[in-house]
Symmetry: C2
Subunit: 328 residues, 2 copies
């Protein structure tokens, strides 16, 4: 349930989207570095490292794409993209504290380098800077959208912890958690971008698209945690299980295998034990069903795209394909 990895191959999306998206992403990178450098040495070190390790920038890309090729307020779209990524980074820093995670994307986490206290404060700072950045757009509705998404992230984290180790967690509770932890920030990214773009009237429909691919993204992330292979995901199989996090593959599999339904997750303590549970889940065919659900959700999101010019529809379609291609 880390939702860390991005889509495979942002390149086709950028090729299709044209120079505005590529230039926008470059500006987002510069601004993220400025924000990290602008608050003293301490933040520059820790937050800078987190920001630099931030992956493929899928959320800021969604903001820029939703703003369209010729946004009314280019600066505003870049600021919204930066704000969304800062909220995402803040969450990663806090998640790493809670998971006591030594590495993220092959780099030491803030927690590992600087300890719990500095990492907690660094996350708080990134949250605060996100809202400071967005406030410069002079649009209170944008702040409301981002804070709603940021609340959702925290509520998702609360749900995840509350449901930890419960192998019988209901499916709808799991889906609610995915909505809160992942889909809502994707949704906000699209909505914020559209508001800063040339077609704010498309905001609501693009938000639905964002929410859908966010949900598909999370479901596929959870499938990858069980299926591996580790050489591709960069982490051992069953990491979620060791955290007590019950995800879709196990939820499907437990109804097919009474042995899995009776598993005491607290007794699953080593990577080898987690792998054995992963194998049992895979043996039920649950991975294919979970993947199928995710693909259906992504397809539905594509279908729900608003009435946009064909080239823009194509770009969003490529984003959806990219999310799905993570699993191919």
């Amino acid at each position: 349930m880390s939702a860390g990895s991005a889509i495979t191959g942002v390149e086709p999306v950028l090729d299709a989207a044209g120079p505005q998206a590529t230039e926008g992403l470059a500006r987002v990178e510069r601004r993220l570095r400025e924000v990290a450098a602008g608050h003293g040495q301490l933040l520059a070190g820790h937050a800078g490292a987190t920001i630099a390790a931030g992956g493929k920038r899928l959320r800021p890309l969604l903001v820029l794409l939703a703003a369209g090729p010729d946004p009314v307020d280019v600066d505003g779209a870049v600021r919204a993209a930066v704000a969304v990524e800062l909220v995402h980074s803040a969450t990663l820093v806090h998640d790493d504290v809670l998971d006591a995670a030594p590495l993220r994307r092959g780099r030491p986490t803030v927690w590992a380098e600087a300890g719990r206290a500095l990492a907690t404060a660094t996350g708080d700072l990134l949250f605060s800077r996100a809202f400071a950045e967005l406030a410069r757009n002079e649009d209170a509705e944008q702040v409301r959208i981002l804070s709603a998404a940021s609340s959702a992230l925290a509520r998702g984290e609360l749900l995840q912890r509350a449901d930890a180790w419960d192998v019988a967690v209901p499916l709808d509770r799991y889906l609610e958690r995915c909505e809160l932890k992942t889909a809502r920030l994707f949704e906000a990214a699209c909505e914020l971008g559209a508001r800063a773009g040339a077609a704010p009237s498309s905001a609501a429909a693009l938000a639905v698209f964002g929410r859908g691919i966010g949900l598909a993204f999370q479901l596929l992330d959870d499938v990858l945690d069980v299926s591996g292979p580790p050489e591709r995901t960069g982490k051992p199989r069953g990491t979620d299980l060791l955290d007590g996090t019950v995800t879709l593959p196990l939820i499907i599999a437990r109804d097919r295998d009474p042995g899995l339904a009776a598993t005491d997750l607290r007794a699953v303590r080593t990577p080898a034990e987690a792998e054995r549970v992963c194998d049992a889940v895979a043996a039920t065919g649950a991975l294919e069903e979970a993947r199928g659900r995710a693909l259906a959700i992504a397809a539905e999101a594509k279908g729900a795209l608003p009435d946009l010019p064909a080239d823009r529809r194509r770009v969003f379609g490529l984003v959806a394909d990219g999310v799905v291609a993570r699993y191919a």
Copy 2:
């Protein structure tokens, strides 16, 4: 350095300020409870408990007082007051996680009741709700002010952790930490209130006042940590020392007592050892000097009050007196 306790006797301030402040505070309480209750059972339990244990509401009171007896936007002033208190509460929840603090104001902390993960997420949620609340005022400048203060809080926490255990920490570094951790949110409270009030032109001057009494408040809090008595402060003397936090009394005392300057704070591990250091600090006369500095800062803040009607000047004067009276 907990800055938890409020002024002694808010009553004289409320008596002098008139019904708007009292009614406003009652509305702030109701709204804080609504915010806590509006996000599911989990938050209602943990955040609700934190909010309920929130003390005398000095920061929201400052917002309401700065808005004046007849604010242009009463609802906006209440929302700003709620937002400031939510940021403060978020910080307290995270601080308690970092300090592994079992109690706050005699109640179990979120950390103690629900653990590190839930407490971290609860703090994040309170931060997010603060910005959601303030966004409803439709004034991007207010969001900017609050996020700057919230960034400052996190930077102050970073500084405190970076300087921990360093008995030789420079005075100006300590003062910077107090500014960031405490004074800036007091400043923001005054500025936000004035913007929602009848005299937004007084915002800058009231901000200076807020910053001054915030700084005095923190210095006196740090004196109380060394002086006690525990029956009054509700915690053993020397709590800061056990966290490795070096504050003004020790900074003054170390220049007078070479034994203190040579103290290895990491070796101070028990409440009894911390009390012995407190006694040594007190023996140098450092407490009187630290208190004198705080009183001078509070007096300066009073002197810097803008040209307001006499009754409003009197109310702010009573706030400054109340902050100082914590020590009397």
